[in-house]
Symmetry: none
């Protein structure tokens, strides 16, 4: 089971709504079960550099089927996954990437958000992921 474009666009709409409530400007990316981009939106005035980060967060969340921040806890100096960010053409391992499941609990994709503090990024990603 893969995420559909309709589902991805629904997630992006919910994420944009949350971003506006938080008075932030976000880049929002949704990938499918194969970690391939399905939909993307950069809000007007959002950081240019966050385009790549939002996509990498979504990819990272699907690559390892966990929130990006969880990977980041293990990739610190001395950690068991130290500098894992060098793999896969660059991972982003701070919060803002969340896997997306269907009703049966199967992972069908992931969402990645970047453009503000990591707390805001995660909150917006969560709003998107919860829209399904």
């Amino acid at each position: 089971m893969n995420i559909t474009l309709e589902q991805a666009e629904k997630m992006i709409a919910a994420a944009k709504k949350k971003a506006t409530e938080l008075d932030t400007k976000m880049n929002i990316a949704v990938v499918d079960g194969g970690a391939n981009l399905v939909a993307f939106a950069r809000m007007d005035g959002a950081w240019l550099g966050s385009k790549d980060i939002s996509i990498k967060k979504a990819e990272t969340a699907r690559y390892f089927d966990m929130n990006t921040g969880e990977v980041g806890k293990l990739s610190q100096p001395g950690g068991s996954l130290y500098n894992i960010e060098h793999s896969n053409n660059g991972l982003i391992t701070f919060p803002g990437g969340i896997p997306v499941k269907n009703d049966s609990g199967d992972i069908i994709g992931a969402i990645g958000v970047s453009g503000s503090t990591v707390d805001n990024d995660h909150a917006v990603a969560d709003a998107g992921a919860s829209a399904l």
Copy 2:
């Protein structure tokens, strides 16, 4: 003047409508005046490899402010721009990428479409570009 996300989403909606009319499944990308991605959509079942092609078509159209097919006419063996595709991390120079102008005639971005024949790709890109 840069394209807005609202304009980009309007273009993608028009392109999706046209793609459905033509019974095709497309990847559709919109970049702004700086050739940076603003919005993207991959229709369910569309070719995975066309994600990158649609983005590169949009970039190529903005890089040179002309339809991608025009660049391709000049990049053939013996042509004046032979193998220009090796620049800019890879150009795509067959039809499907079109610059987008505002009412004053200024280029504010570009659209790139990939997923079917180049004739269909161009027709869908044109439907998107004409939606503004």
Copy 3:
């Protein structure tokens, strides 16, 4: 609003003057609002490796609309943006990159400087940014 070549060359001239006063040899890069290179100069004898660093500093400053050193404070081990440098084909997050604004306060580009200590790099970038 985008920076013009004339403005970029004025910034580079001011930066070179400051670099000479500090008895340093710098690489100086200016990007526009789309983070695309507008002008560049490598002073005679300046480090070869600083070419790429100066360009990446200018890009990084525009990608996130802040001084590069600010990003670096957050990207340390344990910080909220740890290893953000893996995005965007490589960021540089120590001082020497500064966004450039017009009179209305809109960001129109950025300058990046590399070739000496980060304090000197920042001082030269600041001289360039202040020349407008």
Copy 4:
């Protein structure tokens, strides 16, 4: 012997003058004897995609110490250097890149120009190269 920044800036000034005479908008790059960028200028409104092409033309001219168009004659299908463009992270082998010599005839760098027809690109590069 390497080109100096002063020489490179003199070449860019001459190239810009010629570009204006031809009513064109050019990207102009100068590399040194080590094929490393010394100076660059993108004229207002010049093609974004020509930034990379102008730099690659200058590099290509210095990599092989000949005009880029000469390489292109040999890189056609069936030619002895077919698809040489795949090397060195991408060559550009159509006209617009010219090696630069000092008074003793030693090659000290190269200039690359992109932004119009290859004839205009070459004419502007030649104006720059002749300025020394």
